[in-house]
């Protein structure tokens, strides 16, 4: 297999909770949120990788670490073989960020309301000192707008963000990321604020750009139903760790971790015949806080299949198929079935 474009090994981010003066006086123990807790994954050239999970599972933190917006507590990240977790030099960091860009969830607040689209798109060029003259930059902006199908570009240049619809705004964010010709884009819930029909349009466009622009996406989402269409690899994240990963089809058709199975049961069915009855959602409760991660398997308090061993031993990654692993003591033994009670 080819060398991965991006590699993360034991990637970890712990946040210290600041203590008040009185807590310090009383000698209260320092609390640590283990937002990302030793994550490994590989992303291959032009093969999208998506991370799914509930809110609070640490998926956005992973994205921010990859952009080096946050510094990892431990672990390493490699981009094309180069260790980027060690870069501390501003110039090198800037060069790295030119190759990786980010798109945010909320297109309404990601664009400055007081800047025109032209200014918004010119800013990354100015920062990275690209283009010698205003004309040259204008050409590049035109090209970027055409890439995201905002045509004719002249019409959009002088607009303000409030004059665009939600889908158009998200396409401007995409153009802003694309204008630097990055290899890699971290897309943090890029379509979750958009309407169903617009969502499909933006996802189609993002998919087309993979081949047109040679770009790879790291797609962060809570909506597992869009991943099959959009990505090649899926990582399911729970409480700071990737509990199952593999090729999209494998993970979705034969989920091996009880958490993945629960997520799939919870997906609403667009078919009244199937979805009518009360579905048995196997897990109860809500995701625990990152300050207090359960011992052994982090999922055991909510797991319907938990046995004694799960409380004591943190499960290893078990191979359940080609390129498909799950972190569960019983991976491969638990059958997946959607039960519907009438």
């Amino acid at each position: 297999m080819a060398e991965p474009l991006f590699k993360a090994r034991n990637l970890t981010k712990h946040f210290q909770i600041t203590q008040s003066f009185f807590q310090k006086l009383r000698g209260k123990e320092k609390q640590v949120v283990r937002a990302v807790d030793g994550v490994d994954f590989d992303i291959y050239w032009k093969k999208n990788f998506s991370v799914v999970g509930e809110s609070g599972c640490g998926k956005t933190t992973v994205g921010k670490l990859m952009m080096r917006l946050l510094d990892p507590t431990a672990g390493h990240m490699y981009m094309k073989g180069e260790d980027i977790s060690a870069i501390s030099n501003r110039q090198q960091l800037k060069a790295y960020r030119r190759q990786t860009q980010m798109i945010y969830q909320d297109p309404f607040s990601a664009l400055d309301p007081r800047h025109r689209i032209r200014t918004i798109l010119e800013e990354p060029l100015m920062i990275h000192d690209i283009g010698d003259s205003r004309e040259e930059r204008t050409d590049m902006i035109h090209e970027a707008l055409e890439e995201v199908r905002l045509t004719p570009p002249e019409k959009f240049l002088r607009r303000y963000p409030h004059m665009l619809s939600g889908g158009q705004k998200q396409r401007v964010s995409l153009a802003r990321a694309m204008i630097l010709n990055p290899d890699f884009i971290v897309a943090d819930e890029p379509v979750s604020m958009l309407d169903v029909s617009v969502r499909a349009e933006v996802l189609n466009l993002m998919k087309d750009l993979i081949d047109e622009e040679d770009v790879t996406y790291f797609y962060i989402t809570h909506d597992i139903s869009t991943t099959r269409f959009f990505t090649d690899y899926i990582g399911v994240m729970y409480l700071g760790d990737i509990v199952e990963k593999g090729r999209g089809g494998d993970v979705l058709d034969t989920p091996s971790h009880p958490y993945t199975q629960a997520l799939l049961v919870a997906v609403p069915e667009p078919d009244p015949e199937r979805g009518r009855g009360v579905k048995k959602v196997p897990i109860t409760g809500e995701i625990p806080s990152g300050t207090n991660i359960p011992s052994g398997c982090r999922f055991h308090p909510r797991c319907p299949h938990a046995k004694e061993i799960c409380e004591k031993k943190d499960p290893e990654e078990i191979k359940v198929g080609k390129e498909h692993t799950a972190k569960c003591h019983f991976a491969g033994e638990i059958e997946f079935d959607i039960e519907v009670a009438k």
Binding site: S165, G167, D195, V198, L263, V278, K279
Partner: protein, 364 residues
Amino acid sequence: MDSKMVLEVDELCTHYLTTDGEVMALDDASFKLHRGESIGIAGESGCGKSTLAFSLLNQVQPPGQIMSGSIDLDGIQVADLTEKEARKKIRWKKVSMVFQGAMEIMTPVYTVGHQMVEPLKYHKGIEGKKARDICERYLELVNLDGSIFDRYPHELSGGQKQRVIIATALLLEPDLVILDEPTTALDVVVEARIMNDLKRLRRELDISMIFITHDLSILAEVSDNLAIMYAGWIVEFGSSKDIYKDPKHPYTEKLMAAIPDIRTDIERLEYIPGVPPNLINPPAGCRFHPRCHKAMEGCKELEPETYDVGGVRVKCHLYSEDEEIAESEEAQYETAYDDEAAAEAYEGELGKEEIEEPDEIMEE
């Protein structure tokens, strides 16, 4: 159907009278709701779903106004009520509503209980221990512990808060509960569990529900009937089984196709090009024609009637008997969506706002 009628809406129009013009947010909406039934209302943002819900409560915010039509709620003419009467007679008692983003609705400085007993106090004069007992019973009904009564909103998770709101909406045993995007902000697992609870409650308490959402896949699970809205019109109304199996209106067809399927590999998702029209000046004829893949010549001028197609009411010229329109079909059937033309149309809408200034102004 022989069960009792709870709600009958007839040719309801609600417009917003803004300084820019009249926004025709809801036009000519008619439907009936029987006891114990549920209706799902779906459409893109800005199609008038929420306006419809607020109209049903007679709570349209100014400059909005119910222009014409009637809402018959169990014998009460809702549109004719004054604000005071509406508050006394229908809200909470007959209809209650769970709003979009219910998480922010609770006041952070009072306990959950303090806020929950308010409708009981106001409508029935029940207070103290008795009110507490009732509230605890309803909290348990939505799978919450009775002790939540004494907690503050910030101590609860999003899912728990949403359940409290649902319990409060049920307190006075209304006939009808309107849920406006009840689970949009929640995680899938929590969403599925709340949806399960709602399905159960509807059966146990025999109440009618109206679900409003843009997510058609959720509606498939909870609604008996489906109303698809586009630009202030109900374009298709019928049993959800029929509509999911065989959508009649081109808009519904596209909307259904846009839902990604988790079970099969697909190369491309379907979508509806263009943007919904500005309702101050909606397109002439059928409001959907500029984005419609089946648009005909006649669609540009004539507003379609509502036709009954196998029990489903569809507002579309495709089902017209009128020969003139049907003949025009061939001529225009191929009119694929034209990106440029739509951009042009959109431009026109924005025309007023567009300020042509020399670029240099933005230079620093």
